[in-house]
């Protein structure tokens, strides 16, 4: 049976335990669950919020493409990826990835691969709002994020 990634793009927060349970409940073949949660940092008190814009439709489609690659490449038993949009305050969740596999390295690699490609290929953009009331600058893409993809060649 083909395993399909569970993909959601939503304004509201997510519940990590519910998402893990949805992948693991009632099965006895999963040995490893790795989760990644990305949170909004306040940048030493200078950031009051992030505003996340996305390309509706394509965001989900691209996350699904990356998720399918991760499942196939690492023989995952399940993969969930949830990305929020809208205004997000420091300390709040932005993104969740949950990967399940029989053994640990596949689960680690699956979640890590999903994040590296999500960062550089899923159509989301962050704008920073400053605590000084500044209108907000778009976050610049990081070379480090492009380089992070190279490890999967």
């Amino acid at each position: 049976m083909t395993i399909v990634p569970l993909i959601r793009v939503q304004a509201q927060d997510f519940d990590i335990r519910a998402e893990i349970d949805a992948l693991t409940g009632g099965r006895h073949d999963i040995g490893a669950v790795v989760t990644f949660t990305g949170l909004c940092r306040d940048e030493q008190g200078t950031l009051s919020a992030l505003e996340l814009e996305h390309y509706p439709g394509m965001a989900e489609a691209e996350m699904r493409r990356i998720g399918r690659s991760a499942i196939e490449r690492f023989a995952l038993l399940g993969l969930t990826a949830i990305h929020r949009y809208g205004r997000i305050a420091p300390g709040e969740n932005i993104v969740l990835v949950v990967a399940t596999a029989p053994h640990r390295q596949a689960a680690f690699d699956g979640a890590n691969f999903m994040m590296d490609f999500l960062k550089t290929a899923a159509p989301f953009w962050k704008k920073e709002h400053g605590t000084n009331g500044s209108a907000g600058d778009w976050v610049a893409a990081k070379d480090a994020d492009d380089r992070a993809r190279e490890k999967w060649r």
Partner: protein, 85 residues
């Protein structure tokens, strides 16, 4: 041929609208041709597409390179490098 252009992030802000329908001139064959054409459509386009090499484009919601032919794509997304996650 009429196509729908959708803009995001600072490309959207500089052009000043989230989307528009345009008629593609006959000599616009590739993504690169389209970006060059748009750049001539006014100061706001010039500001958004000043450095076309950093601009990312999706045809019908799939990433493509600038040398890709537009072909029969109905929706063309134009945006800066992505910064999600």
């Amino acid at each position: 041929m009429t196509v729908k252009l959708v803009y995001f992030a600072w490309v959207r802000e500089r052009i000043g609208k989230p989307e528009e329908e345009i008629d593609l001139p006959d000599d616009v064959k590739t993504v690169r041709d389209l970006l060059s054409h748009l750049k001539t459509q006014g100061d706001e386009y010039e500001a958004a597409l000043q450095y076309p090499e950093v601009i990312r484009v999706a045809l019908d919601q799939e990433h493509v390179e600038h040398n890709e032919k537009i072909g029969s794509a109905r929706e063309i997304g134009i945006f800066p490098p992505m910064t999600g996650g």
